[in-house]
């Protein structure tokens, strides 16, 4: 059997006469092309799902992790004093980049979806909200809670971890599922190419016998099949990838109202990932056909 490097070199170099020794296989060739194209098309979507989920997980993880809120729940006459006390504590808290109390107008705007724009905020016991933005190192939330409990009894710290964690976890799981889907698609393509190569090798047992009779090495025979199936997988998956990328491109663009579904797609350098699919498919076909050829040629020896 020839060395993989030699086979790889022969794959790209090509040999018109060597290509002709294996009979054209017509319908099965079309099936291999179609299956490779379909798998690549699905792989593009799995990648889009995975990469979009990854972006979402990062966004939720980073942006929400850097903000926290303190609610100052106190009688109206003590609210301003407790708010000021909480802000003083935050000024000396390590990891806090900025902290500010929301104005009445901002709080009114936050409550407007539930109570309407005409809400008289002074008439309700609405807690004062303090928005905290952390610096890169983050703050010690437990330590801050203890200090607030001691000095500002009406202050409650919410660092969003309670509801952020499940969202980040869900996005991470989606990302993982996307990658698993890509791997399964790759494995399915390998299985498909192996089956097709096995069928072609078995159907051409007499061709192999003739080639051996005239002095063909196993490497030469294997290469004829490897080249054929690798080029089919490469061609089919290139077509599938282009179609998949076009479909992703034609998805509705991201909008404020769109949410996750309209964000499904590629952004920036992520567009460079799908074009790798045909090469991955080619490599998978190369390895799968090589293994099938080695096994079959050994059996036929």
């Amino acid at each position: 059997m020839t060395k993989p490097n030699a086979t790889l070199a022969a794959l790209f170099k090509g040999d018109r006469q060597a290509d002709r020794v294996v009979p054209p296989s017509g319908f099965t060739a079309q099936l291999t092309l179609f299956a490779a194209a379909t798998m690549a098309f699905l792989a593009v979507f799995a990648l889009a799902l995975s990469l979009a989920s990854g972006r979402l997980a990062n966004m939720w993880g980073q942006e929400l992790a850097r903000t926290a809120t303190i609610r100052v729940v106190a009688p109206v006459d003590q609210r301003a004093a407790q708010t000021a006390a909480a802000l003083r504590i935050l000024e000396t808290t390590k990891g806090v980049q900025t902290a500010r109390a929301l104005t009445d107008a901002e709080q009114q705007e936050l409550l407007a979806p539930w109570f309407g724009p005409e809400l008289a905020i002074d008439a309700l016991p609405v807690p004062r909200l303090i928005e905290i933005i952390e610096d890169g190192d983050g703050m010690d939330a437990d330590g801050l809670r203890l200090r607030l409990a001691a000095e500002v009894p009406g202050a409650v710290l919410d660092n969003h971890s309670r509801w952020r964690a499940p969202l980040v976890k869900a996005a991470s799981r989606l990302k993982l599922l996307g990658w698993i889907s890509t791997l399964l698609i790759t494995a399915t393509m390998a299985a498909m190419v192996t089956l097709a190569a096995n069928a072609a090798l078995s159907a051409n047992a007499q061709v192999i016998a003739v080639l051996r009779l005239v002095g063909a090495t196993d490497g030469y025979i294997a290469q004829a099949f490897i080249r054929r199936f690798t080029l089919r997988a490469l061609t089919g998956s290139a077509a599938g990838t282009v179609l998949g990328m076009l479909a992703i491109l034609l998805l509705p663009s991201t909008s404020d109202a769109g949410g996750f579904l309209t964000g499904l797609g590629f952004q920036g350098w992520h567009w460079l990932v799908p074009p790798l699919i045909p090469f991955l498919a080619g490599a998978v076909a190369f390895a799968a056909t090589g293994a099938a050829a080695r096994r079959t040629l050994k059996e036929l020896a």
Partner: protein, 225 residues
Amino acid sequence: MIEFENVAYSYGGGELLSDISVKLAPGSFHFLTGPSGSGKTTLMKLCYGALLPTAGHVRLFDTDVRSLDRDDIAMVRRRVGVVHQDCQFLNHLPVSENISLPLTVSGRHADTAGGDLQELLSWVGLSNRADALPPELSGGERQRAALARAVIMSPDVVLADEPTGNVDWEMSQRLLRLLVELNKMGKTVLIATHDLSLIRATKAQVQARVLRIANRRIQLAGADL
């Protein structure tokens, strides 16, 4: 060149060949004869590494066949031209490409040997059938195409297994003359046949040894015609 030393070959629990010792010297001409099923084809296959002996030693070009891997066997086959009775071809390729197949698989492209190919086609009388597909050939044409394929690499040894089995007397004489010509060019020739009239007809043309297989052994080795 090809040497058998106490060779036995068993298959499916039965021994087909037993205690075979024979040597094909360079430039020699041999007939291998015996009744159908006596093991002629098996012995021929042992001559080019298609089968391995179950006992004894087969030496191909001074190397024990058991020490050869599959690639080595392929190299041996480039030095041994084989013509089978059933003449297997690649049916999707024209005759000219089938004949030049040994060149193709050895990396010597037929384009560079175009003149040789034409000469060879002419030698076997197939110049006008170069573009035909194998299924379109008659029995005799197939045998001649197989012979041309067997010799295109200028092998040291030519093995022909019942080469005249599917052709008429005239064609078998024509094939025989081609094989005798090859022998006169210095090639070692071994022809397996059960046709004794063919052996007798060769008597006037070449000094040949007859190896007769019976009861799993070569019984009449060295008898000159």
